[in-house]
């Protein structure tokens, strides 16, 4: 930022702002950086100091059948959660935005409410419910639980976008001869795509990261990535956990990042071959 003629006070204000900003960023990123760096540590112990560079912990991780199984489990659950939740989100927000019916406001609030309830409470709640009707804890329960956790966020995202899509586009499509379904598929859905992608990525991340609720819901013997890490931590802070943590960071940060980039390039692609002619 260039200030025309900074006086002394202004200079100091800028320096202070810069310093505080730096501190905040260090505070936010230091744990992540530490995990990533330590995952390459040659030492037997999962902490500083570094004793050398090594990929052995990644090698160990690859050989650890329990970790691999947990990774696969988490990946599948997150994928299913993302797909199902996004579908629910799109349909729900379409209904909540486009149609008038009694109790609409209440429903609209209720669908978001679970996001405000502490996860642990939801975890226990679902468990108690399952016990009450005498059902076993299954993978299905775990997936349903994750969907329950992710739906409010996805609905919020898709609903916000849906409100911005004017009804007149759908009316135009209908007047031109498209059926209600065709007009949804050809007009509404494409205009909703950014929210669909964002919602799916968020649902994936929510599911992939979830620890506390998963602890309650997982069937006996099944571990997700976070619960696997937790149980490994019970024994010791092994450098393997740092390697595992790095992989987790890669997945949960990388996937949304890639998704965002794909979305961006898609929209850019559409704008590229526009003639430079000035619109009158």
């Amino acid at each position: 930022m260039k200030v025309g003629r900074p006086n002394k006070e202004g200079r100091w204000a800028w320096r202070l702002t810069g310093f505080v900003t730096l501190c905040v960023y260090i505070f936010m990123f230091a744990p992540i950086v530490a995990t990533v760096i330590l995952s390459f540590n040659a030492s037997m112990f999962g902490g500083f100091p570094m004793t050398g560079f090594s990929l052995q912990w990644y090698g160990k991780l690859m050989a650890n059948e329990a970790v691999l199984a947990a990774f696969r489990t988490s990946l599948w659950i997150a994928l299913v959660t993302a797909v199902v939740t996004t579908a629910i989100g799109v349909v729900t927000s379409f209904a909540l935005v486009r149609f008038e019916f009694p109790g609409k406001q209440t429903l609209s609030t209720l669908v978001i409410l679970p996001a405000l309830v502490p996860e642990t409470i939801l975890g226990v709640g679902l468990l108690v419910l399952i016990k009450a009707v005498d059902q076993p804890r299954t993978m299905l329960l775990l997936v349903l639980g994750h969907i329950l956790l992710a739906v409010p966020y996805v609905v919020l995202i898709t609903q916000a976008r849906m409100v911005g899509i004017r009804r007149v586009y759908e009316e135009a499509a209908l007047s031109l001869g498209a059926s209600r379904f065709s007009s949804f598929r050809e007009i509404t859905l494409p205009l909703l795509i950014p929210a669909v992608v964002a919602g799916a990525l968020l649902a994936f991340t929510i599911s992939f990261d979830n620890t506390s609720a998963s602890l309650f819901w997982r069937p006996a013997g099944v571990e997700t990535m976070p619960t696997q890490i937790l149980s490994m931590l019970k024994i010791s802070i092994s450098p393997e956990i740092n390697a595992l943590g790095t992989v987790m960071i890669l997945v949960t940060v990388g996937i949304p990042l890639i998704g965002g980039l794909i979305l961006q390039s898609l929209t850019r692609l559409k704008r590229r071959d526009e003639p430079k002619e000035e619109a009158r």
């Binding site: 004017r166 007149v168 135009a172 007047s175 031109l176 001869g177 209600r180 007009i187 526009e274 619109a279």
Partner: protein, 362 residues
């Protein structure tokens, strides 16, 4: 062809939202190839009627026929109507070509035929070669022309235009007015146009339906509704007529009306009126002559304000009794200034008489 069926026919249409009646007892028959305007203030039900033809609004009573076919139960996407919206409503994620081709695609027109027809439609709206552009790359006027092309390319039975000009700036509006009218003439399509702008209605229409509060006030050609307004509402809504209240004082070959303003005028009445009956004399500002040119009935007054318009001037003239009239008169000689005493006149035949309930006496 047998006896020409009306392109669109309304029979006693009622449209209600819950307890609120938006349109009451609306009947209208629209000739094929004509340009009909629904004119009225906002909330008068004109857009509701337009949307009922499209099938975007359900009617609660009566019948709508398009080309003799009853369409009350036909869903919107099977009605074969072209719709142009105030906000253009071009699909933002589709190119101009895909926008215009949309209706053809759903009519299973073969691809080469689609390309040909889209090209023709774009030529017609004078935007050839714009196929690959996105709507966001076009100006408002261009977008509305594409919207028009999209609505007419599949040759619908009726073209519905919902205030298509009101989102445009003044210059563009005038240009588009001419353009729409030209295209409608060239294609011979039946058009129903909704507006609150009397100038648009007068300049474009074959027939105007003046509406107020959910009912029809008058149906007629632009000349008819302007020259012979059927009701006080029409007289006031179209062109701000002077409305002079008075009482009939004598009735023989002409009718003498003693104005509330204190002066008496002679007017032509289509039928004899009983002395003592209350009437309103409606005179257009253009029918009033001022100063030396004042002829016919002469009223003396005082200029309250003058707006000089170059070729003519608009005067507001106080004729006593807290009544003022607006006169739009050509300038010959001097422009009268504020405060000047002046005479205004109008011919006995240059006015319309309304009875006590605001209906034209005929």
């Amino acid at each position: 062809m047998g006896a020409a069926k009306p392109a669109v026919e309304f029979r006693d249409i009622d449209i209600a939202y819950g307890k609120f009646v938006a349109v009451r007892d609306f009947s209208l028959s629209i000739r094929k190839g004509s340009f009909v305007t629904l004119l009225g203030p906002s909330g008068c039900g004109k857009t509701t009627i337009l949307r009922s033809i499209a099938g975007l609004v359900d009617i609660s009573g009566g019948q709508i026929m398009i080309d003799g076919r009853r369409v009350d139960d036909v869903p919107i996407y099977r009605r074969n109507i072209g719709l142009v919206f105030q906000s253009y409503a071009l699909f933002p994620h589709k190119t101009v070509f895909d926008n215009v081709a949309f209706g053809l695609k759903y009519r299973n027109v073969p691809k080469p035929e689609i390309a040909r027809k889209v090209g023709q439609a774009l030529d017609m709206v004078r935007l050839p070669g714009s196929e690959k552009k996105l709507p966001s790359q076009l100006s408002g006027g261009q977008q509305q022309r594409i919207a028009l092309a999209r609505a007419i390319v599949f040759e619908p039975q009726v073209l519905l235009l919902d205030e298509p000009l009101s989102a445009l700036d003044a210059n563009m509006r005038e240009e588009m007015r001419v353009e729409i009218k030209k295209i409608q003439k060239a294609t011979g399509i039946t058009a129903i146009f909704v507006t609150h702008d009397q100038e648009e209605a007068l300049s474009m229409s074959d027939r105007i339906v003046v509406m107020n509060a959910g009912s029809v006030e008058q149906i007629g050609t632009p000349e008819e509704v302007y020259e012979r307004p059927a009701t006080a509402f029409v007289a006031d809504f179209l062109g701000k007529a002077n409305m002079l209240a008075g009482t009939v004082s004598r009735s023989d070959s002409t009718t003498a009306v003693a104005l509330a303003a204190g002066q008496t005028v002679d007017v032509m009445s289509p039928r004899p009126l009983a002395p003592g009956s209350k009437v309103t004399v409606v005179v257009r500002p253009q029918k009033l002559s001022v100063g030396a040119a004042a002829s016919g009935n002469r009223l003396s007054g005082r200029v309250v304000s003058t707006s000089y318009l170059g070729g003519s001037a608009i005067y507001e003239i106080d004729i006593g009794g807290k009544t003022s009239v607006r006169a739009n008169a050509p300038i010959n000689g001097r422009v009268a200034r504020e405060g000047e005493a002046i005479e205004v006149g109008f011919d006995p035949g240059g006015c319309v008489l309304l009875d006590e309930s605001g209906q034209r006496i005929s």
